[in-house]
């Protein structure tokens, strides 16, 4: 196997191992709840088993040997010698973490054990006293060639050997690979068999093998049959080469002679009216002859003997009419001639029958490198759909040159036929556009993955937190099949982890607190996902103590994150107050627990969600619990935008951040503490001029009304003042490269239908980018 193969194999093993570890984690949590559930124990065992077997085969030997120890423990559980206690589950879950680390280390066989590896093995030791002995058994050294030796082999296959898919002749052929063989076939069982069953094996062989290979190699030939067949192998002194060849030839002649005698006897029977018994004898004799010739090996004789058997079979089935006897006699004579002739083709048949291609590199090794991180698993049906669409597109494309040709040949003055061609072209265009739409939809659906991939890690997280904090928490999950873009799936995991950790750590009260407030002893966290229009909503709802809006406001002022006047000016409602927890540098607990609040705040969550063009909403009721809702665009590829004009330029605002678009009289705009604000339908919003934010020259506004887009962001809404709204557009946002990539004001560029490129404004960030200068 070359390097490229190994890379590819390791990359798929990584994917597989991820799935296995996830499944293992889930199964372990189930096992903790129901330690005697045989089905779950088997599921755990199977996952470990595959992890070990496939890991070792893909070159992750260290991982495999580690899992081997853990598997040993579960073997004891499976055999009911041990019970799955929470401590054991703890250690095994840690073992899963360790496997993840070992996976990251790759196939490198460094000898230094990881600290976690040592920890886990130490934790598992009590469960398996003899684990230390379980060190990998070294491979028994291959005994060196012992020089030329002769083996006397007696082989008597089980009558039913064919039913195990083994042809005894193949074993004899295999022996010819090792050296020179002489075989003596004993057909006595065959001739005595009554009734004869053609599906049974009746022959036995005495074989003399001369070889320079080790005895182990000779025994290995019979490794699969030694238990149910009679096999004896005896090593003898080396003979001289000449006598061995003579022996072999004379044995072959002896064996075949018996067959020809039996055939002659069979024909006599046939002639004397005992047709069926005669044919049966002939069948057996021909079969024996084939085996003998094959074992010699003698290709020509084997073919000739097979023709005899074919003739016998045809007659048995009654497909040959009269004149069979002379024909078969001729065939038998031909076989006898072939047997007597030297085996000219012996070499050809003695070499392996199947050409074995050398294991050389046929693919470039770099092909698989670097694809692991971005690979994606695709439902085969989706690929089929793509293939079909690609095919349709090719067909549709074929029509275009034909139109050009017709137009060239057409009399340009013939108005009617020009109209006809135009109509056909339009139909054809509609067809192409339908295919293009389908193609786009299919490609997008390939990027869509179920949110389960993220959700499945949380039961373990909640369990660990609950155990750590001695709380009683139940995690309910629903809507796992909701699909999201792969990029979202890849990024949303960490923010969600943080949110759930917060809910379990800060939201759910301690046992005592819950008891005191008369709540059910088991705290619940409900994680759910559902589709809402073109958005996907992920909700984390807990029944904990809830957020205190007034306390949050106070804390924000204390920490210098907001001023009291700003809070007053913003008419901060409860939801806005809850969003204070999303501000950088805010933490409701002074105590830093080992779980949350390790200097990483909810602002990181907000940034991650906003980077995905998502929005966070928070609802909470004191004493009843909180709900944190994340709204994300289901697909990142295509979205809608609003084209706007600003200072003679055209830019696009992503539609998903726009709450609404309004006209605001210029006269209502006020300036409070350096910030321009304006009331819109009863709510006061801070205002931002897009021209100013993008450093365009601001045109003088002669109009009395301002065009304002109310933009929703994680840190609150604001009004964005533009010159005109130009209309809605579907866009594919592409990231900016080079120098432009450093401009935080834009999320990317979009190509419009007319081929023009427009920049897409980062409305989410725009306001916070301005804040330092605006408040200065």
């Amino acid at each position: 196997m070359d390097f490229g193969d190994l890379e590819q194999l390791q990359s798929s093993f990584r994917n597989e191992a991820d799935d296995l570890l996830t499944d293992l984690g889930g199964a372990l949590l189930l096992l903790e709840l129901d330690p005697r559930n045989v089905e779950v124990i088997n599921r755990v065992f199977r996952a470990m088993h595959t992890l070990k077997g496939s890991g070792a085969s893909a070159g992750f030997r260290r991982l495999a040997s580690f899992v081997h120890h853990v598997e040993d423990v579960f073997n004891r559980i499976r055999n009911q010698q041990l019970q799955a206690t929470p401590e054991l589950i703890d250690a095994t879950l840690k073992a899963c973490d360790c496997c993840t680390l070992l996976l990251e280390l790759g196939g490198t066989d460094s000898d230094t054990p990881l600290p976690l590896e040592i920890e886990v093995l130490a934790a598992l030791r009590p469960f398996l006293p003899e684990m230390d002995k379980a060190a990998a058994k070294p491979h028994s050294p291959n005994p060196a060639s012992q020089g030329r030796a002769r083996y006397q082999i007696a082989f008597r296959p089980n009558h039913e050997i064919f039913f195990s898919g083994t042809d005894p002749a193949s074993l004899l052929l295999e022996l010819t690979d090792l050296g020179e063989i002489a075989t003596q076939c004993d057909p006595s069982d065959l001739l005595a068999a009554e009734p004869f069953d053609p599906e049974h094996s009746y022959l036995r062989w005495e074989i003399t093998l001369e070889t320079s290979q080790s005895e182990d190699k000779v025994r290995a030939v019979f490794q699969f049959v030694e238990d149910d067949c009679e096999v004896s192998i005896e090593r003898q002194e080396p003979p001289s080469a000449a006598t061995s060849a003579d022996n072999k030839a004379s044995r072959f002649r002896g064996a075949t002679e018996q067959c020809f005698t039996a055939l002659g006897f069979a024909l006599q029977q046939f002639q004397s009216g005992e047709e069926q018994p005669g044919l049966a004898t002939a069948h057996r004799a021909a079969q024996t002859l084939i085996s003998a010739c094959r074992a010699q090996p003698h290709a020509e004789a084997t073919t000739a003997a097979r023709r005899v058997l074919d003739a016998v079979l045809s007659q048995q089935e009654g497909t040959l009419e009269g004149g069979w006897l002379p024909k078969v006699k001729l065939l038998i004579d031909a076989a006898r001639l072939a047997v007597d002739s030297p085996a000219a083709t012996q070499v050809a048949i003695a070499s392996p029958l199947i050409p074995v291609a050398p294991l050389e590199a046929t693919t470039a090794p770099e092909s698989a490198a670097g694809t692991a991180a971005t690979s994606i698993r695709v439902d085969a049906a989706k690929l089929d759909a793509l293939m079909r669409l690609a095919g349709e597109l090719l067909v549709a494309r074929g029509a275009l040159p034909a139109f050009a040709e017709r137009l060239e040949n057409e009399d340009s003055t013939d108005h009617i036929s020009r109209i006809a061609i135009a109509k056909e072209m339009r139909d054809s265009g509609a067809k192409v556009s339908r295919i293009a739409d389908d193609l786009q939809a299919t490609v997008m659906s390939i990027r869509m993955m179920p949110v389960r991939q993220v959700f499945q890690r949380f039961p373990r997280l909640v369990r660990d937190i609950a155990r750590n904090l001695d709380k009683n928490i139940e995690l309910q999950i629903s809507g796992e099949n909701t699909e999201l873009d792969k990029t979202v799936i890849d990024t949303i995991g960490d923010p969600l982890t943080h949110i759930i950790r917060n809910a379990a750590d800060h939201g759910i009260e301690s046992r005592a607190e819950r008891a005191a407030s008369g709540k059910p002893p088991v705290g619940s966290i409900h994680l759910t996902a559902y589709t809402c229009g073109s958005n996907v909503v992920i909700e984390v709802k807990d029944d904990g103590k809830g957020l205190d809006a007034e306390k949050l406001k106070k804390r924000a002022v204390e920490k210098g994150l907001l001023t009291e006047t700003a809070i007053a000016a913003m008419h901060m409602d409860d939801e806005a107050a809850f969003k204070i927890i999303l501000l950088p540098g805010f933490s409701t607990l002074d105590k830093v627990t080992s779980l949350s609040g390790r200097g990483v705040g909810m602002d990181v969550v907000r940034n991650a969600v906003e980077a995905l063009r998502g929005v966070i909403h928070i609802q909470s009721e004191m004493g009843k619990g909180s709900t944190l809702r994340i709204e994300l665009p289901a697909s990142l590829l295509v979205s809608k935008g609003i084209r706007v004009a600003v200072s003679g330029h055209e830019v696009v605002l992503p539609i998903d951040t726009i709450r609404n678009m309004v006209k605001v009289p210029k006269s209502v705009v006020r300036t409070v503490q350096g910030q321009q604000i304006a009331p819109v339908r009863g709510t006061v919003f801070p205002m931002l001029w897009l021209a100013h934010a993008l450093s365009f020259q601001r045109m003088e506004e002669r109009r009395a009304e301002l065009a304002v887009a109310i933009i929703e962001t994680g840190s609150g809404p604001y009004g964005l003042v533009v010159d005109h709204f130009l209309g809605e557009i579907e866009i594919v946002v592409k990231p900016l490269n080079g120098v432009l990539a450093n401009l935080p004001e834009y999320v990317g560029a979009a190509i419009m239908g007319n081929g023009k490129t427009v920049l897409v404004v980062n409305t989410e960030k725009l306001f916070s980018l301005q804040r330092p200068t605006a408040t200065a």
Binding site: M1, S54, A58, I354, A357
Partner: protein, 122 residues
Amino acid sequence: MGKRVLAVDDSLTIRQLIKMTLSRAGYEVVEAEDGAKGLQKASTEIFDLVLSDINMPNMTGIEMLRSLRKLAPYKFTPIVLVTTESQPEKKQEGKAAGATGWIVKPFEPEQLLAVVTKVLRC
């Protein structure tokens, strides 16, 4: 056309390893991810050799082996068990169900090829 091999294993890695090794050597490899799917593939197409894991969801390798041997085209077909279960009783169970031989995981590609060549000799 090379001989056709059916590789039944719930581990993608093992299936891939089998496929890589055997396709290089000129065999045509078809994959199935558990015993039930293996049985289904085998009953709609003909294979010269079946390589199967033992411990799989839905239908174990041994159950599949028993069912395969009852199908006329697989009465005498070599069926090799690929497994980490190296215990003698598993081998016996496999043998009794009609297995031709076995390969113990982990294996080197050369070992796999040697066994396949061995059982497909005739």
